[in-house]
Symmetry: C2
Subunit: 272 residues, 2 copies
Amino acid sequence: MTRQELINQIREKKTFLCVGLDTDIKKIPEHLLKEEDPIFAFNKAIIDATAPYCVAYKPNLAFYESMGVKGWLSFEATIKYLNDNYPNHFIIADAKRGDIGNTSSMYARTFFEECNLDSVTVAPYMGEDSVSPFLQYEGKWVILLALTSNKGSHDFQLTTDENGERLFEKVLRKSQEWGNKDNMMYVVGATQGRMFEDIRKIVPEHFLLVPGIGAQGGSLEEVCKYGMTKDCGLIVNSSRAIIYADKTENFAKVAGEEAKKVAEQMAALLNN
Amino acid sequence: MTRQELINQIREKKTFLCVGLDTDIKKIPEHLLKEEDPIFAFNKAIIDATAPYCVAYKPNLAFYESMGVKGWLSFEATIKYLNDNYPNHFIIADAKRGDIGNTSSMYARTFFEECNLDSVTVAPYMGEDSVSPFLQYEGKWVILLALTSNKGSHDFQLTTDENGERLFEKVLRKSQEWGNKDNMMYVVGATQGRMFEDIRKIVPEHFLLVPGIGAQGGSLEEVCKYGMTKDCGLIVNSSRAIIYADKTENFAKVAGEEAKKVAEQMAALLNN
């Protein structure tokens, strides 16, 4: 998906919500456990109920891998279902990959050839040759970790170097030598509040993938106040607060209602 | 596996070689393609031929994931074969994972419960709560990226902070608050030469996993000169130079001979 197509989707649907598919066999409604593939059955119902209210889906690879081969089957079935039925939704493999060039090329093959996803989250620690193999695919995106939503983000990402630049700022600045606003986004946690101002000084136009509203406690209003651009420039993710909003046979309907609520807030914020 | 068990293995076998199972369907001998699971058939033959000369195996997850479900089946078959037949070999999932606590817990479940591996490589960018879930398993190890073997290691890992500490040094120092020499090792590339001296100042006793000899050009002698401790303290990996040393039906025999050559160099270096 191109940047312009993504922007068009956001404008048409008046939402910039991403639904995170952190699907845990231990948390899905019990009645699904009799299905042949309970994880896929859960995802399919969640997707059908939330699709009108979001522009993106973000399966978190950890949750699928934790079930081994079965989990990969569920992951691939989910991606195929999205590609077949919702081709206008942007699909993010939340995988936080990154390795030497030779190995990153293999990861890129996984997510962009074996599975037809739009983007993958990548960790920057290993530098340019760990990121650039993912940038070799037309219409595909790297979403690079910059300033994450968790407590541990303070351990290294905020370290100030001898020139007064913090590590996440160096990642933002340096990575623009490798990609651009048409093939690179950044992960910035919703819990980071006013830091979005500092981020926008370095990447005024890039899209940011923002996890951390909902279960992690970040504020959507604050994210928009300090992070939104004229093209929106934000994809805001919610996982647990939407997909586990209800644990009964009604789970999908309730998830849809939760997604709708967030989308309505987003529509209002887009209008401002 | 405990630290003492690993040291005992190294002393008994007089080798600290790790064979990297970066198994690529495009690079294995053609005659294997008629096997039901060519990747596993290749790994099994390589393992049987090299086991006397190494103390560890390191499957690189990217290579398995790039084949989707089939790849995971090959990966799991390989781990099962190692656990059943070579229980004294240390098994490393080279996966470079790391995410918010909730998600890292799922990755830990994958590698330590779903698959019975000894250790997993983890990226430090997201800080403490991305690493600590992997440290909750008795007898299991985190191998944290410190100073990697690739060119991109210069982009961020060598950044000096306002106190004169480089990022990889901060990772070494800070992570000792989370784990210790009994459950944590560090990745340091063989291409980093004398930097091992600086690393040993911060982690004098920790084991280091050292990739980068062979295809990447690092020197085993230099690694030992600057990085070896009284307990050895090194696991040195070679992947491509061993497993792809020959492309004929003789591939396993030649891989065994290559591993033996490296092990003989290692025995001499251990004697010094």
